[in-house]
């Protein structure tokens, strides 16, 4: 079981009831980022048409940055990172306006 904070930034909150910050608890052992991502797609995105805003080919869509405790997930092991209690996982879409 693991309990983490998940943030949807840069406008991404539109896919999760316009709520930026979510407390997420997953009652499984060894939850990695890959599992969290599928959990978000299955359990948290209310309108299933919005899943493609978040996922592409089974992974986080290009243009969305994924952060683990304010650090690029590439530096933390990416999809294989094992979640720990109190981790803060952030997804932010890249903005393009200027």
């Amino acid at each position: 079981m693991v309990s983490v904070t998940v943030e949807f930034l840069g406008g991404l909150d539109v896919i999760v009831n316009k709520q930026r910050i979510h407390q997420v608890q997953i009652d499984e052992e060894g939850v990695d980022m890959k599992r969290l991502i599928s959990y978000i797609a299955d359990q948290m995105i209310t309108n299933k048409n919005d899943v493609e805003v978040f996922l592409e080919d089974g992974s986080v869509r290009p243009g969305i940055l994924t952060l683990i405790n304010d650090t690029d997930w590439e530096l933390e092991g990416g999809e294989g990172y094992l979640l720990e209690d109190k981790d803060v996982i952030s997804f932010t879409s890249t903005l393009h306006g200027g």
């Binding site: 290009p62 940055l65 304010d70 932010t92 879409s93 890249t94 903005l95 306006g97 200027g98």
Partner: protein, 288 residues
């Protein structure tokens, strides 16, 4: 005569004195670095307006402005360098007029063109630092790709609604480039630009002002002194004003542009082999 004896004129001392006494600027030697600096700002919109004002105010020797758009009334709530009397004028020209009055010591060069595969290298070559203040993914890849191939550092920012993002790309040819962060472009339909998304003036203005601070730090050698760690900063204005700093990946050895076997080269860009329109979807390119 006086110019020969002192590195700065009396008028320059008078104009810049208040910033020269801030220790971080490095005094006279810092002011001379600023005077020798050549900075290109791509986009004279919501980000570009405050950047241009503060860089000109600080005494950056040459400022180039790339923008082929004209001033529209709908820009003025956030693009506060322009005004109602310059509606219809090219933004780069409208900006130049204001900057020339603000600081006659600064040379302002204007490029009333749409940046593309064919003209980017020629425009960028003259400058030390490139500022990406544009509003489409297409241009963000193009600016980063050209800067990497010419060995220039990029200050890149964007904003929408009440939020903004800022990073430094290809820092000193050591830091990551835009493709290191975003190897695959987003699908066009998932991108909102300020054309449709709306934006609050001082929120995008704050991010533009952050760009000016980063540019001064690059010119003054702040990162040489304290070391550079790749970062992405995000600002949000509502409900609370917050800047967050994310620690980001470094240069990627498999990056198509700055990696060990690059395919995004000057030749492939200029020949049109890299097709930015197809790559990012064909969207109207408008610096707003």
């Amino acid at each position: 005569e006086q110019e020969k004896r002192y590195p700065l004129s009396l008028e320059e001392f008078r104009r810049y004195g208040r910033q020269m006494i801030v220790e971080d600027t490095g005094g006279v030697s810092g002011q001379i670095k600023l005077r020798n600096a050549k900075v290109l700002v791509v986009g004279a919109g919501g980000l570009g307006c405050p950047v241009l004002s503060y860089l000109a105010g600080a005494g950056v020797g040459v400022i180039g402005i790339v923008d082929n758009d004209v001033v529209d009334t709908s820009n003025l709530h956030r693009q506060v360098l322009h005004n109602s009397t310059t509606v219809g004028m090219l933004k780069c020209e409208s900006a130049r007029q204001v900057l020339n009055k603000l600081n006659p010591f600064v040379e302002v060069k204007t490029y009333p063109v749409r940046l593309n595969n064919a003209n980017a290298f020629e425009i960028f070559e003259f400058y030390d630092i490139i500022l990406d203040a544009t509003d489409t993914p297409l241009t963000r890849y193009l600016i980063s790709d050209v800067a990497v191939n010419l060995g220039k550092t990029v200050v890149s920012a964007s904003g929408l609604g009440t939020e903004g993002q800022l990073c430094i790309l290809n820092y000193n040819n050591e830091g990551p480039c835009y493709r290191c962060f975003y190897p695959k472009p987003p699908t066009p339909t998932s991108v909102t630009s300020c054309q449709e998304g709306g934006v609050i003036g001082p929120c995008i203005g704050l991010v533009g002002t952050m760009m000016a601070v980063e540019t001064l730090k690059l010119i003054l050698g702040e990162y040489e002194k304290n070391g550079f760690q790749p970062f992405l900063k995000t600002y949000s204005g509502f409900p609370e004003q917050v800047i967050r700093t994310f620690r980001m990946r470094g240069k990627q050895s498999n990056c198509a542009c700055c990696g060990q076997t690059p395919t995004v080269t000057r030749e492939s860009i200029e020949s049109g082999l890299i097709n930015y329109d197809a790559f990012c979807g064909s969207r109207n390119y408008d610096v707003c």
